[in-house]
């Protein structure tokens, strides 16, 4: 703890501010680049202060994408991304909440076995099984569909584990009381367990939303139909191309639009978000 004056106090602020500025620098330049003309960007040095092309570039990105006919507009990609991120967040919470409930509050055959089966998936990311997963998804005819984008990404147990840990801390007396009142398991589940878990659910929802929003490799392989592109891969696809010129200001405008929604979510729901982060990973 430092005093509110003196050299140390100021040095602390200087150090932190420096960190903040370094983190902000790329974002600032991306913003500047999204408000100038392409010619200003490709003839270095590019300006450090925003230009007057804001509406032109953002308008082009939102409506056209990189070109009219063969690629989805940013608006369409944003819609896809929101759908996928919501699907992943909701889907994962539903399946893991119910299965954690079953594992913690029941005794049934092979319960331990199921727990371990689920637990095994804890940390293996989709990347190491990506080709066979592709086959499976193709086999179900789910290429270029929202379900194909969502299901493989919720096939892991992080959330189940989190809910299990949380249920363990719920005092037994609550279950006891519910049982004495004659509550059926599902009544207990709906009337008691969901309400007391809502902070955890909300926190987890935020984490999974960001996770889903920022997916890149899986959508890149999975969606070959431009109208199913997500925003993150869509922005990458705008760069370069056969014998084409990269429209940097439009790319940067699209990047800004790809970044801002999750940034706003993270900052505005900071505390809930941090809680989700620190709980779900531990």
């Amino acid at each position: 703890m430092v005093e509110n004056r003196g050299l140390n106090y100021w040095l602390t602020h200087v150090g932190l501010s420096f960190g903040v500025l370094v983190l902000f620098f790329p974002l600032w330049l991306a913003f500047v680049a999204s408000t100038v003309t392409n010619s200003e960007v490709i003839h270095p040095p590019m300006p450090l202060w925003p230009g007057d092309q804001f509406f032109v570039n953002y308008g082009r990105a939102l409506i056209e994408g990189d070109s009219g006919q063969t690629s989805a507009s940013v608006a369409r990609m944003l819609l896809n991304t929101v759908t996928v991120a919501l699907g992943i967040a909701v889907g994962k919470i539903v399946i893991s909440f119910t299965s954690a409930f079953a594992i913690v509050y029941f005794r049934f055959p092979a319960r331990k076995f199921f727990f371990w089966i689920i637990f095994l998936t804890l940390m293996l990311p989709v990347e190491v099984r990506i080709l066979p997963t592709y086959e499976v998804v193709a086999g179900f005819g789910m290429l270029n569909t929202y379900s194909g984008l969502i299901f493989p990404l919720i096939a892991s147990a992080t959330a189940t584990f989190l809910f299990r840990q949380f249920f363990m801390t719920v005092p037994d007396e609550i279950v006891e009381a519910a049982r004495i009142d004659g509550a059926r398991p599902m009544q207990f589940f709906i009337d008691i367990l969901i309400p007391i878990s809502r902070t955890n659910i909300a926190a987890l929802f935020l984490i999974m939303f960001i996770y889903g929003w920022n997916q890149y490799l899986w959508p890149l392989l999975m969606t070959t139909d431009p109208s199913m592109n997500t925003i993150i891969m869509g922005v990458e696809q705008m760069i370069g191309g056969q014998d084409d010129v990269t429209p940097w200001p439009v790319v940067m405008a699209a990047s800004m639009m790809a970044m801002l929604p999750p940034i706003i979510v993270v900052i505005s729901m900071q505390n809930l978000f941090i809680r989700g982060l620190t709980d779900s990973d531990k």
């Binding site: 490709i42 070109s67 086999g139 070959t224 014998d243 010129v245």
Partner: protein, 437 residues
């Protein structure tokens, strides 16, 4: 009574026919074009759909060339594949080896009874997609060949005569010295280094890139692009890179950015760079033949193509194949081909289209746009200059890129880099051979 029955059945049949005519058969085409090229492609499709009502072609972009091939392969495995798949030229061997997955173009055409003359295509283009027994397997779509782009203003600024002879690398080398000493920051840059400076270099100097006629005569081919001609050229490029005369900008066509911005004096790139350069260059530019090394026997031979062809995939109905045949023959028609050539800088792939363009006076008003065609056709292709047919070639090109980068950065000599690339590439060729036997 009998008569009535016949009339009824006839009426029913007519009804059935017109019913199918109303719902046009869908033909799916997956391709890799976006931007301006994508728009032009979409226009061709719209034109075909408007001209007849039996078939409806639906085009879809599936990413870049590699991604499009992957999408087609994955879809084939899942039995959800399109009728027509655009495959870049380096994927040719992969497609040819997949005999169960493709339906050769000549078969599609003959079964549908569509008149089709492979000899109508210009030699090097036809050769690339035709078996050694003369069967054309896929339909050439966009083909280009590397040429030398010159920024005339940069030459003037360096005190050089922009009309100077740049036909040989020796003369280009002298120009680079002058450009560099006069302060030019980017005397020479390139796109597609392996394609221009190894694959085309080999064909242009009539030396083999791989054994067995560059892979045309068998899958047991081996890479041999580490000969004296290739080593000499790559070493020269490496020296220029070290002296700041050759500026490396990336594995694809990233160099175009600096050339279009007017920073580079010379640029080796596909003739298809025309549309972009014409649109963006705020300087006087010119197209020249790709330089060759004076003193190499047989040079200049001819350059080879890059680009893509359209493969017909197996497993669809006869009726759909008839639509495919109609569409492919529409695409190769002179009007479409001539317009495509003039709009994009790609080669006119048929002789008729080439003549048509010439007659229209296009070459006179757009000087230099005929260079690529001339460079490819002025000599009859030899067994080592008709093209390449190598398995896993996309990946082998990646290895070549890696090794060339180590020459540009001065880490390796041209000789050791090319030897290494040959060694690594041959391992892949053997793997390809064994998985396709």
């Amino acid at each position: 009574m009998k008569k009535v029955k016949r009339i009824v059945s006839m009426v029913l049949m007519i009804g059935m026919f017109s019913g199918t005519a109303l719902s046009a058969t869908e033909i799916h085409w997956w391709h890799a074009f976006k931007g301006r090229l994508g728009t032009l492609l979409a226009e061709q499709v719209d034109q075909f759909n408007a001209a007849q009502s039996d078939y409806k072609v639906i085009q879809n972009r599936k990413g870049n060339y590699s991604e499009t091939l992957n999408a087609g392969i994955a879809a084939f495995r899942a039995k959800k594949h399109p009728h027509i798949l655009m495959v870049f030229e380096v994927g040719t061997a992969t497609m040819m080896a997949a005999k169960g997955a493709i339906k050769p173009m000549y078969k599609v055409m003959s079964e549908a009874g569509v008149k089709f003359d492979p000899d109508g295509f210009i030699g090097p283009v036809k050769g690339y997609y035709t078996t050694t027994t003369g069967e054309m397997l896929s339909m050439p779509y966009n083909s280009s060949t590397p040429v030398l782009w010159v920024n005339r203003d940069a030459f003037k600024k360096a005190g050089l005569n922009p009309d100077m002879d740049l036909s040989t690398w020796q003369k280009v080398g002298a120009a680079l010295d002058k450009l560099k000493s006069s302060g030019n920051k980017c005397p020479l840059t390139t796109a597609w280094q392996s394609w221009v400076h190894l694959e085309n270099l080999s064909a242009y100097h009539n030396v083999a890139f791989a054994t067995k006629e560059n892979g045309f005569a068998g899958m047991d081919t081996e890479l041999v692009f580490n000969g004296p001609v290739q080593i000499k050229h790559i070493q020269a490029m490496g020296n220029w890179a070290k002296e700041g005369k050759f500026i490396y900008a990336g594995r694809r066509n990233e160099g175009g950015k600096a050339f279009r911005a007017g920073e580079c004096a010379l640029y080796t790139e596909s003739s298809a760079g025309y549309a972009g350069i014409k649109k963006n260059a705020e300087f006087d530019f010119e197209i020249r033949h790709l330089p060759y090394w004076e003193g190499v026997k047989g040079a200049p031979q001819n350059t080879i193509i890059g680009g893509s062809s359209l493969w017909v995939l197996s497993g669809h109905s006869t009726k759909e194949y008839r639509g495919v045949a109609a569409f492919l023959s529409f695409l190769s028609s002179p009007v479409i081909q001539a317009a495509w050539h003039q709009n994009t800088g790609y080669l006119p792939v048929t002789l008729v289209a080439s003549q048509k363009t010439k007659k229209s006076g296009f070459y006179d008003s757009n000087p230099g746009t005929d260079i690529a065609g001339i460079q490819m056709t002025r000599k009859t292709p030899t067994s080592v200059s008709k093209g390449l047919r190598l398995g896993s070639f996309d990946q082998i090109r990646g290895m070549i890129d890696e090794e060339l980068e180590s020459v540009w950065s001065g880490k390796k000599t041209a000789k050791s880099a090319l030897n290494n690339a040959v060694k690594r590439g041959n391992v892949l060729l053997r793997r390809f051979e064994s998985s396709n036997r």
